[in-house]
């Protein structure tokens, strides 16, 4: 189902949107900000809520990424407004949702078989010397592989590199 108005119209009204405007915090319901009368006269009620039978909305605004804003909104029909419990659980889950979406949006890095083999050992907590011994190569060579791996991943530390190639290590 898609609400029937174009994107430009929707975007033009974003500054009036309590959730999308970002003025009232990361978790906010329309009813936190607008009285019933004011809400029923708003463009958002008339054009968005009423056509799909919704009357209440609470939004979970995720941290902005530059100019990109992302909000997950929950709508209910009349008579079942969102509660303090709903506000609280959304506050609690927000950092986890944000982390998951960030991970999903990131391209999986491409590493060579050797780089991946070394990163698996790094993730196990081995030092460069121990990795070199395990692979039967020089410690300097391991260091060079890691240097190239960091560059490919955009990593700034050992721990950061492990985090960035986590999906490869899991696989």
């Amino acid at each position: 189902m898609v609400v029937n108005f174009d994107a430009d119209t929707w975007l033009a009204h974003l500054p009036e949107h309590p959730i999308m405007s970002g003025r009232y915090g990361p978790v906010v319901a329309f009813s936190d900000v607008l009285g019933t009368l004011e809400f029923r006269r708003s463009w958002h009620y008339l054009e968005c809520f009423r056509p799909n039978g919704s009357f209440y909305e609470i939004g979970l605004a995720l941290p902005r990424q530059g100019v990109q804003r992302s909000v997950i909104s929950f709508n209910r029909k009349r008579g079942r407004d969102f509660t303090d419990r709903d506000h609280l659980v959304l506050q609690l889950i927000r950092p986890h949702v944000h982390a998951a979406l960030q991970r999903l949006g990131r391209p999986v890095p491409q590493l060579t078989a050797r780089q991946l083999e070394i990163m698996r050992l790094v993730a196990q907590g081995l030092t460069n010397g121990q990795i070199a011994h395990r692979l039967g190569t020089a410690e300097k060579t391991v260091g060079k592989h890691l240097e190239n791996t960091y560059e490919r991943l955009g990593a700034h530390s050992r721990v950061h590199a492990i985090a960035l190639c986590d999906p490869l290590l899991r696989g």
Binding site: V3, F5, L11, V71, F82, L90, H96, L104, V108, P167
Partner: protein, 78 residues
């Protein structure tokens, strides 16, 4: 300022959803992230019961405050 107390069941639901978030695999860059996260959105709708669930993403003009430069319509996911 009032306080809100969560039931054991609610706390468990939050922890379960945090687990779902942690377990979601990273994926190759996709044009529309929503294609990749039905599990996450479904779990969210389970945590906060709703009739419709929307995911809005928009970009705002850097040069003029309050004016949108691009974005999408409003598809409902639930």
């Amino acid at each position: 300022m009032g306080s809100t107390t969560l039931s054991t069941r609610d706390v468990r639901a939050v922890l379960d959803l945090a687990g779902v978030c942690a377990e979601l695999p990273a994926q190759v860059q996709v044009d529309d992230l929503a294609d990749a996260v039905p599990e996450l959105l479904g779990a969210l709708a389970g945590l906060v019961r709703c009739d419709l669930l929307f995911w809005d993403r928009s970009s705002w003009s850097r040069s003029s405050v309050g004016r949108a430069s691009s974005g999408r319509g409003r598809p409902a996911w639930w």
